[in-house]
């Protein structure tokens, strides 16, 4: 699928459901399906919250299944931000010490096989890849 959501405000749920409804994701085993839902939500949430300082802008979402690699590409024209440069949370801290939040991209890093970020022509581009084990 390739779809542009403009403005992105209020579209989080719709974007997630659109990706989940694609035939390739729909056909995935439950475990993979769960991970993809989670990672898509985390990225979309990040963009909705932080990309557009004033007002709202667009987000484009494209998914492809390239042999056994499922790839999703997110594009927005918000403030340049590389989420992959953010420090990972310290998961050894106690409940009192743990800050609330900051887990979204960390979850993506743990659950996906590859993440890539680039800033091109005024756009943030984030790519996530997950290997699909066809033997499973």
């Amino acid at each position: 699928m390739k779809k542009r959501y403009d403005p992105i405000t209020g579209k989080s749920g719709a974007i997630i459901e659109d990706v989940m409804a694609t035939p390739e994701v729909d056909a995935m085993p439950f475990e993979l399906n769960f991970r993809i839902r989670l990672c898509v939500e985390e990225v979309v949430e990040n963009v909705v919250r932080y990309a557009y300082d004033s007002g709202s802008g667009y987000m484009q979402v494209e998914t492809v299944l390239d042999k056994n690699i499922w790839r999703i590409t997110f594009e927005d024209a918000g403030v340049p931000f590389n989420p992959l440069e953010k420090d990972d949370p310290d998961i050894t801290l106690s409940a009192e010490e743990r800050p609330i939040g900051g887990l979204g991209i960390f979850l993506c890093k743990q659950m996906m096989d590859r993440l890539e970020y680039r800033y091109t022509d005024g756009c943030n581009i984030l790519i996530m890849e997950k290997k699909i084990d066809t033997q499973a």
Partner: protein
């Protein structure tokens, strides 16, 4: 022998059903606000039917843990599904929130 009567003000059992995600995390937090702002020291969250949580849901679980622990109470999450448990494991939440 000893008989201990636990008043409803002290003990609470909550069942969480469905998905906690970006579309409803604010409502989730609001609905559990009585625990965050209350005085209960014995909190059980039954997660049998909790199908999914994103980091938005984790935020609320951490707020609950901080609040209950902060007043010397105990919170426990029970019957958690495997995939949901994995989210708690990856983020280290399994170490700071009691899951049975």
């Amino acid at each position: 022998m000893e008989v201990k009567v636990i008043s409803p003000e002290d003990k609470v059992l909550v069942r969480i059903m469905g998905r906690v995600d970006t579309t409803n995390a604010a409502r989730f937090q609001e609905e559990l606000g009585f625990i965050i702002n209350g005085q209960m020291k014995d909190v059980e969250l039954d997660c049998t039917d909790l199908e999914y949580t994103s980091s938005q849901g984790l935020r609320v679980f951490l707020m609950l843990q901080k609040a209950v622990q902060g007043r010397g109470g105990k919170m426990v999450l029970t019957h958690m599904q495997t995939q949901v448990k994995e989210v708690f494991d990856i983020t280290g939440f399994s170490n700071i929130i009691r899951i049975l």
